[in-house]
Symmetry: C2
């Protein structure tokens, strides 16, 4: 009998849910709104899981792997999801009792990293780091094939690495100068606004800045280089701590492709401890589906 | 039958070898010179192991866990030991064929961290980081009870974290400004020599600098504070990457006790991502025996 698994990615506005085969095929995908009301969200997830299973009567479902935007303990309890207004929630229990199958839970960014390891840009790796560069910077760390969740679910929070570039800029976490304030899309826009012509543009995106740099604008180049330096130094830090074989860049800003990768790789080489320098840099491949694949990988690749 | 295991710590000048019970008792310890001649070193280790076993006829030895000063792959091959003049060496094979029992190998600093986790300052932890501050700075990272060795055996090389304090000081690794050049005993002495009266003292130790700081010398205080800031920032970095529950400080400089711990902890709190801030700081407890206990722990605590 064909083994399958659900991957469920609970976000601040939507839930993405997919049925994935052991071979890594996404058999069906659904998307619906998440709710600040816990019971509503879990009822909706359970109803969708039942409906999808009805279309696959010959498949044996071994569980549901769930990603949530918050720190997760022991693959079951999320310690609050700010974006959803949830407090401490035992998701494994809440969902498990509704669907009668095993449920494992992880932080969404860590789970996306595991998804990329299993079926995306990091396929074949055992030691992988992902930096997800969007409005903020998230990420995940995988050592010897397993997610580093840490003591309180804060493993892989690479967006909050202390960095020397913008010591006066406050981060959403309360600290100053985190990687996230320097190199996220938000940080790139903020830095660009120090210069003409960006200071006068009402709507400005990180893509505009990358495009201007590519077109030869020196100020844009400076901003893009600083973001690359910060991300490369972060990768060098991760290099000597967990010594990955690969660093993946994902998130909205990774649409810049080589224009993002090249300065990051250059700054990495400049800062890394040489014996840890043998690292491939690449782009994440699964986009918004990374969490779904990661959820399935919790069952297909992570032994208890 | 009582289960026992050998822990073997191969250093640049001596081999430390101990027989350890499953309960964590060090039943016998020996120390003898290491040799640049591989065969001599392994013959000596094998001979000592046989002699020790003869004194414990009722014990069942389940293996030997070996630490070496170099990067280790797959718990067997060390990729060169600079201090010993060894090239790539399959230690598991070299020693295993001489003693007819399973051999597992790890980097010495990682192994010492595992020893502290099992029977030392980190007892009861699952997520632990150790910073070993001596002539250089070594360390180890343990996530979910397991050593983070990394893709090429360079996991836990925390002495080479890029740091913003001494950007012009070159490290032995070739880079500039590593944690090691800032906060090791060597770095502390170098920094102190910028000031009177230390610039004129022929023999100067890190202990002298800590003693002078304790006695109220302002220049010494400045040096000690900078080292503490660097170590605390390193701990904050490790905090958001692997989210440990405890950070241990070991090595020669840790003899300074609270005079070392206090500034490190203060700088940690200032730099850490708040959700990863719940960390206990303590001193390593096993001293030179940490590697022996770590070797035994490879068999007693690390499932395959």
């Amino acid at each position: 009998m064909k083994q399958v698994c659900f991957g469920v990615d609970i976000g601040g506005t939507t839930v993405k849910l997919g049925l994935v085969s052991q071979e890594g095929d996404l058999l069906e995908k659904r998307e619906f709104p998440s709710s600040r009301d816990l019971a509503v969200t879990f009822d909706d997830i359970a109803a969708n899981i039942r409906q999808v299973m009805d279309s696959f009567p010959d498949a044996m479902c071994i569980g549901a792997g769930v990603g949530v935007p918050g720190p997760v303990l022991e693959q079951s309890v999320v310690r609050g999801c700010v974006n959803l207004g949830w407090g401490d929630t035992n998701i494994a229990q809440e969902l498990g009792c509704r669907i009668n199958m095993p449920v494992k839970v992880e932080n969404d960014a860590n789970l996306a990293t595991l998804g990329e390891l299993w079926q995306g840009g990091g396929k074949g790796c055992r030691n992988l780091v992902m930096l997800t560069v969007g409005t903020g910077i998230g990420g995940g760390v995988i050592c010897n094939g397993r997610i580093v969740a840490g003591a309180t679910g804060g493993g892989g929070e690479v967006g909050h690495l202390p960095m020397p570039f913008r010591p006066d800029w406050q981060c959403s976490c309360g600290k100053h100068g985190c990687l996230e304030v320097t190199a996220s899309a938000t940080g790139i826009i903020r830095a660009a606004r120090e210069y003409a012509p960006f200071c006068e543009m009402e709507a400005l995106t990180a893509k505009d800045v990358y495009d201007a740099a590519a077109a030869g604008d020196e100020n844009a180049r400076r901003v893009v280089d600083e973001a690359g330096s910060a991300l490369g130094m972060a990768a060098a830090i991760l290099g000597c701590v967990v010594n990955p074989e690969m660093v993946l860049l994902g998130g909205g800003v990774s649409a810049a492709g080589r224009a993002l990768l090249d300065p990051v790789e250059a700054a990495f080489k400049q800062n890394v401890f040489p014996p840890c320098g043998n690292v491939r840099f690449a782009l994440a491949q699964l986009g918004n589906n990374a969490g779904i694949f990661g959820g399935a990988a919790l069952f297909f690749t992570q032994s208890a």
